[in-house]
């Protein structure tokens, strides 16, 4: 009741302002302020916890044709170790002879240990209405176990260096009908699309702030979204074809951005608009 009164009063004030020939600049500021308030309100409760809990169950439960849990899965710190692992991914894995991000490693464990076929393990990387993604839940759980841990992505193995160098080049690769590259939107400070602030991913501060807040629960979609999803959807808006889940380019770009975020405390699953 009180809230309604306040809202009504607020509307009256707004109307009065409009009548007093409110300038565009003022409208702009209030719109941005309102969005900031909305974002602050979101921090109260994060539904990502539901994905984390489901992911923990999936992690511990025997699964697949071989009925084996993820407890034998090595995310880089030894079989079954989850705590702090995401802050050191992507990395080179000798058993696969490949640099892998978390999603790629999960698929690898599903195939090599749980007995899934590659296509089955790759199924449903992103959830939608009526179909929950196990990968998104597993990612929510594993990443939640790195909250507060400083990003420390290695760049020691030649294949790690190679992935980073490739990611750096891909970041500026122009293509598609619109000539867009990642850098078109993410290479300058203080820019935005409509009212959405854009991180400058070519600076350490920008990469740190952006990378450490993915995965995130997206309020507008009612889903928890992983970094693989983030890249996939950026390329969709770039008018590129569809980025293949766990492809080499997706891992190289993740390597480039994750490594640039080194030194910052990981702070996800987060919540975003």
């Amino acid at each position: 009741m009180q809230a309604m009164k306040v809202r009504r009063a607020g509307r009256a004030v707004l109307a009065a302002c409009a009548a007093a020939a409110m300038t565009a600049a003022l409208a702009q500021t209030s719109a941005v302020d309102e969005i900031a308030k909305y974002r602050a309100a979101l921090q109260d409760g994060n539904p990502a916890e539901l994905w984390e809990a489901r992911g923990e169950d999936l992690w511990k439960a025997p699964r697949g044709p071989k009925n084996v849990s993820f407890v034998t899965c090595d995310l880089g710190q030894g079989p079954g170790v989850v705590k702090g692992t995401y802050a050191q991914l992507p990395r080179y894995f000798a058993d696969a002879d490949r640099v892998m991000d978390l999603e790629t490693r999960l698929v690898y464990c599903m195939v090599t240990q749980q007995g899934y076929t590659q296509p089955d393990a790759m199924k449903g990387p992103f959830g939608g209405p009526g179909n929950k993604s196990d990968i998104e839940a597993l990612v929510a759980y594993v990443t939640s176990q790195s909250r507060g841990v400083k990003m420390n992505v290695p760049l020691a193995h030649p294949k790690e260096k190679e992935a980073f160098a490739l990611g750096e080049k891909m970041f500026v690769y122009r293509g598609g009908t619109h000539d867009f590259s990642c850098a078109t939107c993410h290479a300058e400070d203080g820019k935005r699309i409509r009212l959405q602030d854009l991180p400058n991913l070519m600076t350490v501060a920008g990469a740190q702030k952006a990378y450490t807040t993915w995965p995130a629960y997206r309020v507008s979609q009612g889903e928890l979204r992983t970094f693989q999803w983030r890249l996939n959807d950026c390329f969709r808006q770039q008018r590129f074809p569809e980025l293949i889940f766990t492809s080499d380019a997706s891992i190289a770009l993740t390597m480039y951005l994750a490594r640039n975020a080194n030194g910052a405390a990981f702070d996800a699953p987060a919540i975003k608009r």
Binding site: K169, V172, Y173, H178, K191, R194, Q196, F240
Partner: protein, 208 residues
């Protein structure tokens, strides 16, 4: 003595040149490898085929110089190449309907693999530019275009510039962030005229 000095001097120059070549070569190799890996990492979806990853000369050069200063001669070459691609209106008229222009400026759909290939296709101008003062949700990657013609004059020259810039931004500023809307067949000639009207019609709210 002098002979030795010369010999060593030459050797030094050659060594420096070779190191220079080696670095340049490996940078080109990484770029080439990055392009190849990109091509194997995407799949065609809807209207977005894998050919969208094939770069034309402008995209290739702008990628090559993305993290470096664009040399003057390369910039001039890109601008010349793109100027030649502009198709000026056959009827010599610049102005369409600014109200349609406003709709095109607001429309963000078009050309994404998630979009209906039958349309609509917009310019999504507000994503990056301020235009009418009524729309407060605008981006800042491009400059504000509020009062575009009020500031520049309601002349043919202003209108021609707006038309050409929307058709092919790289003709005016090599490696612009702005898409080449006419050149890349994103917008039609009529849609571009409608946008020129949004920018340069004295009745358009942009010029109020």
């Amino acid at each position: 003595m002098r002979k030795h000095f010369l010999l060593w001097g030459c050797a030094g120059v050659i060594a420096v040149a070779m190191v220079g070549c080696a670095t340049a070569q490996s940078d080109v190799d990484v770029s080439r490898q990055a392009a190849a890996v990109l091509k194997s990492s995407f799949k065609a979806n809807g209207q977005a085929g894998l050919d969208r990853l094939d770069q034309d000369e402008t995209q290739r050069l702008c990628t090559q110089y993305a993290n470096k200063a664009l040399p003057k001669d390369v910039a001039e070459m890109i601008e010349k190449l793109n100027t030649a691609s502009i198709k000026w209106p056959a009827d010599g008229k610049w102005l369409g309907d600014w109200k349609n222009g406003e709709r095109i400026a607001q429309e963000g759909r078009g050309k994404q693999f998630s979009d209906d290939p039958k349309g609509p296709v917009g310019g999504n101008c507000y994503a990056c530019h301020q235009l009418t003062p009524q729309e407060v949700s605008y981006g800042t990657i491009g400059p504000s275009l509020y009062q575009f013609a009020k500031l520049r004059g309601y002349t043919d020259e202003t209108r021609k510039y707006a038309y050409g810039k929307i058709w092919n931004a790289d003709a005016y500023s090599a490696c612009s962030n702005m898409p080449r809307f006419g050149h890349s067949q994103i917008l039609t000639e009529q849609q571009i005229k409608d946008l020129v009207a949004l920018l340069t019609d004295p009745d358009s709210p942009v010029n109020k």
